[in-house]
């Protein structure tokens, strides 16, 4: 269908306007509320509203304040028809249809209306027409395209045959819902059947178990009865067995008492036999005892004699040993004394030497003391010591100097004798030496018979004289002090003094040497004490000498024991070749007769050794004596013991003899032996009897019988107990069976099984039907969905293609099988349609309509009428939409109603019409 022209008269704000439509895009521009929506509205009213109608819709389009009927006229081509259709409503309504081709026809009124509808129905898909119209304000909704048969046809043409099986699908769904919930779960009988089956199966199982239980009770009852019978029989049998056992055991008792009796007899016989043997053996013992004791007495005799002999011998030996010991002791005493003598002689000798040395020292000390005292005194008597001498020398020098000085000033006299005449100068005779001297005093020179010359000194200078005088005076004072008369004498004195000092010192040294650290007094005291000691020694020696000499005159009285040399001999031997003991002993202390120290020492050593040997000999002798004495004591004891033993043995022999005699008196040996023989025979007889009794007892196997009795008793108890149990169980089972029998288990089971079978049958049938409908529905739906996917594909492609022009290359939509846009993908984001903004939804709605218009063939299609859609406010989008519109316009008629002239200005092949408000 194609709109050719629309004319409005007195329609809303339009007094009269005609819009001629292009084949493609027509843009109708009109101010809001005046005209542009009126175009769409007029077309719709023409289609839907009879001229006679007075509905609100009609009244809405009546011009305000004017009593005129709104009028609309439309010229269109549809199918083979060219026609003009005009209507006026409310005031002088008319309806006129002028069909111009293919067959001219004019109709009016309802006829016109009906004919127009018929033509539309014949040629146009009215649903499509409605869908493609976008009324202002409704743009947000998608058109419902799924049932537009023109579109379906178009899509069918592009996708292949689909078929329309809505009724079939509905029937399948109904059938399906009979068995399944919309969610695919079993419902109704189908759902409950399985549960019913399970429940019935459980009940059947329970009843079968109960039945089986009852069967078991029956079986058990049967078994129990058998057991009861068996036990009853067994009870009788076990009782009998018990009695048999008890009887056997009773018989056993007599055997046992016989055995006991014979055993007692054996015991008695054995005891008697034992006693007889014992008696006989006692008699033999007595005889043996007697014999033994006789022998013992003999032995004791012999031992006593031997002991006595030994005792005597020991007594003799002891005596000998004793005298030997006494002799040895004497000799030892002698030797010791000799040793002491020798020692004392040595001591005397030593003391004498010491006394002499000490006396010498004392003498020396005394002499040195005297000399020292003398020298000291001499020293002390000479005052000229070194200092004095030095002072004197000094003074003399000073004097000589002074005299020299004066002499130099004085006359010098020199005399020399010429002839043999003696010349004397002063008192002195002139020798061959000339005399040369200063004349300081009157000097007389005399030559006997020849001349006497006196020379007098002239007068010296005073000070020289005075100095000489002074010096002389000092010198002379010093001389006086020193007790000397001249320097020479002083020097001599000094020399003497020094010699005295030397002597003194020597004496001093000698004294110290003699004293050797001791004082003289000490030495003298020691000397005195030595003297005293010596005196006592002398006394003792003297007595010794006497004694010795006395002995010498006495020959050796006691004979020396062989091999035991006496001390004297030893001493003598030791002194052989030297001054003998006698010599030593008789040594005179007089000088010249004194034996040497070495001799004395040797003598002493010999004496000492002799003494030691004598001591040892004495000790040995003493020991020997003690041994002999001990031996003697032992021998004495032995004798006593032997005597006692002999006495005891004799006594016992006496007793034994008496006992044997008594015993034999009481019972003879022969009767004893006979008694043993009798007892032995009796014992053997009783043992044989016992053997027989035991054999009889064992043959009765008493242990087996005892065990059998035990077993029989236990068996009776056990069988009784088991019988009781069986009886109790019998009652229990009878009760249980009676109880179960009243239940009618079989009937109940049959009922349940019948119900179960029905349920299973029902379920199987239902299940089968359910499976069938499930499969059918699934198969149908899967094919339908597949078909619809193919069916909607061209639609989706159209929308995508246009959308990509407007929005960009990544624009995409998904379209449901009901041809509704389900989601839009843009910039990688997929948004469900319902979640899109109003603008976006409107845009997609427009695109959907345009796609629809493109798909439907031109002759079957309807114009797309877009009433000022709001969505494309964005100028860029609008530009792109213009491109799309231009493209759609090539195959479909598009009418754009807008109040903004510029809005669709860029649609290339668009015709623009203007509506002007009156």
């Amino acid at each position: 269908m194609r709109l050719v022209r629309v004319t409005l008269r007195n329609f809303r704000g339009v007094e009269e306007a005609t819009v001629t439509f292009a084949e493609g895009v027509t843009v109708v521009v009109g101010p809001n509320e005046t005209g542009k929506s009126s175009i769409a509205e007029a077309i719709r009213l023409l289609r839907t509203t009879k001229s006679s109608a007075r509905s609100q819709a009609v009244r809405n389009v009546q011009p305000v304040g004017r009593d005129v009927g709104p009028e609309a006229e439309i010229e269109l081509q549809t199918g083979p028809y060219d026609l003009v259709y005009r209507k006026r409503w409310l005031s002088r309504p008319i309806a006129e249809l002028d069909v111009r081709a293919p067959v001219p026809q004019q109709l009016s009124g309802d006829d016109a209306h009906q004919r127009f509808d018929a033509i539309l129905a014949e040629t146009v898909d009215v649903d499509l027409w409605n869908a493609l119209e976008v009324i202002q304000g409704q743009a947000l909704d998608q058109p419902s395209l799924a049932h537009i048969s023109a579109l379906q046809q178009a899509l069918d043409d592009s996708a292949g045959a689909t078929g329309d099986h809505d009724a079939l699908m509905a029937a399948v769904d109904t059938e399906y819902e009979h068995y399944f919930t919309p969610g695919g779960k079993p419902r109704g009988d189908y759902a409950t059947a399985a549960a019913t089956i399970a429940e019935l199966q459980a009940r059947a199982a329970a009843l079968r178990a109960r039945s089986a239980e009852m069967d078991r009770y029956v079986d058990e009852h049967h078994t129990n009865e058998q057991e009861f019978s068996r036990l009853s029989a067994l009870e009788v049998e076990t009782q009998a067995r018990l009695e048999r056992s008890e009887k056997a055991v009773r018989a056993l008792d007599s055997l046992r008492s016989e055995l006991t009796r014979t055993e007692d007899a054996v015991h008695t016989a054995e005891t008697g036999h034992l006693q007889a043997v014992r008696d006989l053996s006692a008699r033999q013992s007595l005889a043996d005892d007697l014999r033994g004791r006789s022998e013992a007495v003999e032995k004791a005799h012999v031992r006593l004699e031997a002991a006595t002999t030994a005792h005597d011998a020991a007594g003799r030996a002891a005596e000998e040993a004793r005298s030997a010991a006494a002799t040895a002791a004497d000799r030892a005493t002698e030797a010791r004394r000799a040793k002491d003598d020798a020692a004392e002689r040595v001591a005397r000798h030593r003391d004498l030497a010491e006394r002499d040395a000490l006396a010498h020292r004392v003498r020396r000390a005394r002499d040195a003391g005297t000399a020292q005292a003398r020298a000291h005194a001499e020293c002390a008597s000479i005052p000229v010591d070194d200092a004095v001498l030095a002072s004197l020398t000094e003074l003399a020098t000073t004097l000589r100097v002074a005299e020299g000085a004066r002499d130099a000033a004085a006359t010098r006299l020199s005399i020399r004798a010429l002839g043999p005449q003696q010349v004397r100068v002063g008192d002195e005779v002139l020798s061959e030496q000339p005399y040369v001297a200063a004349v300081l005093g009157e000097t007389r020179v005399v030559v006997e018979g020849v001349i006497d010359v006196v020379v007098s000194p002239g007068t010296p200078p005073a000070d020289l004289d005075r100095r000489v005088d002074d010096a002389r005076e000092a010198f002379e004072a010093a001389l006086r002090t020193s007790g000397t008369e001249s320097l020479e004498s002083a020097r001599v004195a000094h020399e003497r003094r020094r010699a005295a000092a030397a002597r003194r010192d020597a004496a001093q040294t000698t004294l110290a040497d003699a004293l050797d650290g001791a004082t003289l007094d000490e030495l003298e005291v020691r000397l005195a004490s030595l003297e005293v000691r010596l005196a006592s020694l002398e006394v003792r020696l003297a007595s010794l000498e006497q004694r010795l000499s006395a002995r010498e005159h006495q020959p050796e009285a006691s004979p020396a024991v062989a091999g035991d040399p006496g001390p004297e001999a030893a001493v003598a031997a030791a002194a052989a070749g030297d001054p003998g003991p006698e010599a030593a002993a008789t040594a005179d202390p007089r000088p010249g007769a004194v034996p040497s120290r070495e001799d004395l020492d040797l003598t002493y050593a010999v004496a000492r050794e002799a003494a030691a040997e004598a001591d040892a000999a004495a000790e040995r002798a003493r020991t020997a004596h003690e041994v002999a004495r001990d031996t003697l004591a032992t021998a004495a004891e032995t004798v006593v013991r032997a005597q006692q033993a002999l006495d005891g043995a004799a006594h016992e022999l006496e007793g034994a003899t008496a006992r044997l005699g008594a015993a034999r008196d009481e019972r003879s040996d022969d009767s004893l032996e006979e008694a043993v023989a009798v007892a032995s025979a009796s014992r053997e007889a009783s043992q044989t009897a016992r053997q027989a009794a035991r054999a009889a007892w064992e043959a009765a196997s008493p242990e087996t019988l005892a065990m059998e009795l035990d077993n029989a008793r236990a068996l009776v108890v056990r069988v009784d107990a088991e019988l009781d149990t069986a009886a109790a169980r019998r009652v229990e089972l009878a009760t249980l069976l009676e109880d179960r029998a009243t239940e009618g288990i079989h009937d109940a089971l049959i009922e349940v099984e019948a119900a179960l079978e029905r349920a299973q049958t029902t379920y199987a049938r239902t299940h089968r039907s359910a499976q069938a409908v499930h499969l059918l529905r699934a198969t149908l739906r899967s094919h339908r969905d597949e078909a619809q996917r193919q069916y909607v594909a061209p639609f989706k492609e159209r929308i995508d293609r246009m959308g990509q022009v407007v929005f960009g290359a990544d624009f995409q939509v998904t379209v449901g099988t009901d041809l509704a846009i389900e989601s839009r993908t843009l910039g990688g984001r997929t948004v469900p349609f319902g979640s899109l903004s109003g603008g976006a939804r409107e845009q997609l709605g427009v695109l959907g309509r345009l796609a629809c218009a493109q798909l439907v063939a031109a002759d079957k299609g309807a114009p797309v009428i877009l009433d000022d859609t709001m969505g494309f406010a964005d100028p860029d989008r609008l530009e792109q939409l213009a491109v799309v519109l231009n493209d759609v316009g090539r195959t479909a008629q598009v009418v754009l109603l807008t109040c903004q002239p510029t809005r669709f200005a860029s649609v290339g092949n668009a015709r623009t019409a203007r509506l002007v408000a009156s």
């Binding site: 029956v218 009852h221 009937d747 019948a754």
Partner: protein, 386 residues
């Protein structure tokens, strides 16, 4: 001497495959059969009735059955002798020892509690071999006969036993089987005139003079000839025995086998079912084999649905049914399927054909069966639209 021999009343028994209503009727039918036995006894002027074991279905029955049984037996004009069998042995739970039984047993009703000859009427004695437990380990009949002397003159002696006859039992080592040669020897030796047995529900003559009486009312679909009682005539002088079976059963359990390969076959089956009388006392198991188109299968389902309401029980015997349903060219041609529906049909058809040969034995239907069912459903739903 004439008497009625019967066995395996299985009173208290019912069939679990039956619906609630049919099950109750079936239960009652067994008691009704007993009443008819009494009628036969009157009619034939029999001297007594002997029931050879399994009078009751179980010892575990609700004791209410006892009173109902006695009520049915009360109409009998002659003595009725009951032999405990393997279902109702004389064990500790025996129904014959129930207080309800002992207290109310009518005077003319006797229970054979041992093998001693029981003189039921003048000139007739019964030697019974009652069961004392469910699992005997000996030939009870042989035991019962072991001490028998030849029958006195003028006395008819009947052996009543229960159990599997050795000649019928494939398990030759079964301890409790009734040894037929031994029994024959007893009869030949003149120690008894006739032996009637229970346990086999189909009336069967093992040997001359040795009979299974069979159940008076059917109990299972495998039985060949149930529903009878035996009218036995014995001439003690000549030892001649004549046995006549009389039908007293009203119910039938049948297996209907058909090969279905076309709509005609379906119609024939429907006709056959329609022809069966007394449908409310009939249980039918269908053993169907063949291959049907979807539309024919729909017809079959419809026919079976209709018939199912009439019979006491009508069902496919799954184990013996192998029915493939495959759409043919015409089935869906007229249903106007196109587009995706046609594609779905094609897929289901392919599934239905695949592995059609390999039939699952287990309860769960194979994928091809599900697909066939789905096709049937599609056929029905698509067709219902028209």
């Amino acid at each position: 001497m004439r008497f009625i021999a019967t066995a395996d009343w299985q009173l208290g028994m019912t069939a679990r495959f039956l619906g609630d209503e049919a099950r109750a009727r079936f239960h009652q039918a067994r008691l009704d059969a007993v009443r008819r036995i009494g009628e036969v006894a009157v009619e034939t002027e029999a001297s007594f009735v002997v029931v050879c074991g399994d009078v009751f279905e179980s010892n575990q029955l609700d004791r209410a059955i006892i009173a109902k049984t006695f009520e049915a037996l009360r109409a009998f004009p002659v003595p009725v002798v009951l032999l405990p069998g393997n279902h109702d042995p004389l064990d500790a739970a025996s129904i014959y020892d129930a207080r309800a039984f002992l207290d109310r047993v009518p005077d003319h009703v006797h229970v054979l509690r041992d093998a001693a000859p029981f003189t039921v009427v003048e000139g007739a004695e019964i030697v019974g071999a009652p069961w004392f437990g469910k699992h005997p380990t000996r030939d009870l009949v042989a035991d019962a006969c072991s001490g028998l002397l030849p029958t006195p003159d003028g006395v008819v002696r009947v052996i009543a036993g229960h159990g599997v006859a050795s000649t019928l039992n494939p398990d030759r080592d079964a301890l409790a089987a009734i040894d037929v040669p031994t029994l024959t020897k007893v009869l030949d030796g003149g120690c008894a005139h006739v032996a009637v047995l229970g346990d086999r529900h189909s009336t069967t003559e093992i040997e001359p003079r040795i009979w299974y009486a069979g159940a008076p009312e059917v109990t299972a679909r495998v039985e060949d000839d149930p529903g009878n009682v035996l009218v036995v005539d014995v001439d003690p002088g000549s030892r001649d025995v004549s046995v006549v079976r009389r039908r007293v059963g009203r119910w039938s359990f049948d297996v209907v086998e058909e090969r279905l390969d076309s709509l005609e076959d379906v119609h024939r089956l429907a006709d056959r079912l329609r022809a069966i009388p007394d449908k409310e006392r009939h249980a039918i198991w269908l053993a169907l084999v063949g291959t049907l188109s979807t539309s024919s299968k729909a017809s079959l389902d419809s026919a079976l649905d209709d018939a199912g309401d009439l019979f006491a029980h009508l069902d496919l015997w799954e184990r013996h049914t192998d029915l493939a349903v495959l759409p043919d060219d015409h089935d869906f041609a007229d249903l106007g399927l196109s587009g995706f529906a046609q594609a779905a049909l094609d897929e289901l058809t392919a599934q239905a054909r695949s592995e059609a040969a390999a039939h699952e034995v287990s309860g769960e239907a194979g994928p091809e069966t599900v697909a066939q069912d789905a096709l049937s459903l599609l056929y029905r739903l698509a067709g219902a639209r028209r």
